[in-house]
């Protein structure tokens, strides 16, 4: 009898626990669903009480006008271009430096590496004003290079790749050297292919960071055609009009969807990537 009751109690507890988790998941997904549903609503339904989760008259007009009245397609391409080139270039330079730190011995190495770690403590916001002034002088305002270049000096990326490269046995490099490979070829043909999981993780992290970057592009990008997608979304809300939530959320869906797809595709590597800082760091 007692045993049965105890089992019942445990069962009850478990159900409560699942209920809690399901509620939590609902809370996590709800703002995204809300955004998704509003993207398909007319203005009259968006500004209507009580609000509805499922649009009564679903419409794609928000998406259409994003592309007809605004250069949003171009903005998405801009984001894709900036994010992928930022990721690719950062990956290249980070792994190159990491290779050097992990596999060579040279005087000042440890000091330089410590210095490099120390730079992570400088918040990049200190540079906003002076870089803006600098960009004005060299005419980099409203240009993509201004977004891509500063991110390439990334201490975290170097640290991350260095950790991974320690796992590559040196014998491999030695035999390559005996075969007459140059240092750079060793890097390109042996090191990089072996670091694929780490590169994937770091690449996705860089891509997402750049895709999501808001403050810096907000400051240096000016013309409608040059904006990245997130800044373009902000630009939709300008002037005293009803906040165009329909357009904003249509844009948001288009901005968020690639991120979620990318995440689901490389979930394992990505999570391994972001957690490496906590465990190894």
């Amino acid at each position: 009898m007692n045993l049965k009751e105890g089992k019942k109690k445990r069962y009850f507890k478990k159900i409560l626990l699942y209920l809690f988790l399901i509620l939590l998941v609902a809370a996590m997904v709800f703002p995204l669903l809300w955004m998704f549903s509003a993207a398909f609503k007319f203005k009259s339904e968006i500004f209507h009480f009580p609000p509805t989760l499922i649009p009564k008259n679903p419409t794609v007009s928000n998406f259409l006008s994003l592309f007809e009245r605004f250069p949003f397609g171009r903005n998405l391409l801009n984001s894709a271009f900036v994010a992928s080139s930022a990721a690719a270039l950062s990956l290249f330079f980070c792994s190159l430096a990491a290779f050097s730190f992990a596999k060579y011995r040279f005087s000042g190495r440890d000091f330089l590496f410590l210095f490099l770690l120390g730079t992570m403590l400088i918040p990049y916001h200190v540079t906003l004003i002076p870089l803006f002034i600098f960009y004005r002088r060299i005419q980099w305002i409203d240009k993509f290079w201004g977004l891509i270049f500063p991110g390439m000096a990334n201490a975290f990326g170097i640290f991350f790749m260095r950790q991974y490269m320690f796992l590559i046995p040196d014998e491999l490099l030695d035999s390559a050297r005996i075969d007459g490979c140059s240092d750079f070829r060793i890097f390109l043909q042996i090191i990089l292919p072996m670091c694929r999981p780490a590169l994937t993780a770091l690449g996705v992290i860089f891509f997402m960071a750049s895709w999501n970057n808001f403050l810096w592009p907000l400051i240096i990008l000016k013309s409608d055609k040059m904006l990245t997608a997130v800044v373009a979304i902000r630009r939709l809300q300008s002037g005293p009009l009803w906040t165009p939530y329909g357009l904003i959320f249509a844009g948001s869906v288009l901005v968020v969807a690639p991120l979620i797809i990318l995440f689901l595709a490389v979930q394992k590597e990505f999570i391994a990537g972001i957690t490496s800082g906590a465990i190894k760091g």
């Binding site: 995204l32 330079f93 918040p123 906040t243 959320f249 948001s252 906590a278």
Partner: protein, 310 residues
């Protein structure tokens, strides 16, 4: 891991051979240092210089001594205000979020729960969305007249609340948004840490008659302490460099972000307003410098603290 690294270093003929007079390793690391010099080091110095000047970006630059710093502390004390806001926000969300993430991680790590992967993915999902997008979503959810939150409350007979018009409530809304976005991220960090705790420990504790709660406090928490510190470290930096969320969430109608009554003004938002709305580059640089000093000290303190623990 560390041992393994040292082992490699000692045995490697590759390294021995490359030891002296080789320029290649310097060549490989030079891009970082060149980029650092141009995009970090020079601006950081220039920012320091600018913080003692008054300049609107067009007219002449005038040296004004410490007056930019004085400006930020006298009167309304905008810098202190922004730091206070962030401190309040920090205490509003960090304890709940960190503990919540740890509890969730323990739950999803145990074999007690099925479908762990599904739960984990969904809780992590907010982290891989665009901040701008979800901030607008929150703004609309919280809308006084047309928001879902007020509809929800109305089912319980609670009258409409103007969430973003009250300083206290607006900060709580901001904290909720941050928690929503970062809970899963912190949980994943803990999950990674928990995998290093051998399950035998829990089994032994169970045999000794410990309740799950007891083993949570006596096994889990002590063993993931470094990760707890790491999470708090990240949250500190994150909180004091908030920008996107307050910038969007509280820009309603003609009022720009940071309101009401500066309750959600963050240091970076202050910097942005000073520099790019009022064209006071000197004052903006002073904000940047003050923040830099605070964050740098925080960082050193935490590293020392963390380093000591290891």
């Amino acid at each position: 891991m560390a041992k393994q690294v040292q082992g490699i270093e000692k045995e490697s003929p590759f390294k021995r051979k490359k030891r002296r007079g080789n320029k290649i390793p310097y060549l490989f690391i030079s891009p970082f240092f060149i980029l650092f010099a141009i995009f970090m080091f020079y601006p950081t110095l220039y920012s320091f210089y600018l913080s003692f000047h008054e300049w609107n970006g067009i007219g002449p630059r005038t040296y004004v001594g410490l007056s930019n710093y004085a400006k930020l502390f006298s009167g309304g004390g905008l810098f202190l205000k922004s730091m206070t806001n962030c401190t309040i926000i920090f205490f509003e969300y960090v304890p709940i979020m960190t503990l919540g993430a740890l509890i969730l991680a323990s739950l999803l790590n145990s074999r007690y729960i099925r479908l762990q992967g599904v739960f984990r993915t969904f809780i992590f999902l907010p982290y891989v969305t665009a901040i701008i997008a979800v901030t607008y979503s929150f703004q609309y959810l919280l809308d006084t007249n047309y928001g879902m939150i007020n509809l929800f409350l109305s089912w319980f007979g609670i009258e409409r609340i103007a969430w973003l018009n009250s300083p206290t409530l607006a900060r709580i809304c901001l904290s909720s948004l941050i928690t929503w976005r970062w809970l899963g991220y912190n949980m994943v960090l803990f999950l990674a840490g928990l995998q290093f705790i051998p399950p035998e420990l829990y089994e032994a504790a169970k045999i000794d008659g410990a309740t799950p709660l007891q083993s949570f406090f006596h096994i889990t928490i002590p063993l993931v302490k470094p990760i707890i510190f790491f999470c708090i470290f990240l949250s500190t930096i994150g909180t004091f460099s908030l920008f996107d969320e307050p910038f969007i969430l509280t820009s309603i109608g003609t009022s720009t972000g940071g309101g009401p009554v500066n309750a959600t003004l963050s240091p970076i938002l202050l910097l942005y307003n000073m520099g790019f709305r009022y064209l006071r580059f000197g004052t903006a640089s002073a904000v940047a410098y003050l923040l830099f000093v605070v964050l740098f000290l925080c960082g050193l303190f935490e590293i020392k603290f963390l380093g000591g623990k290891r």
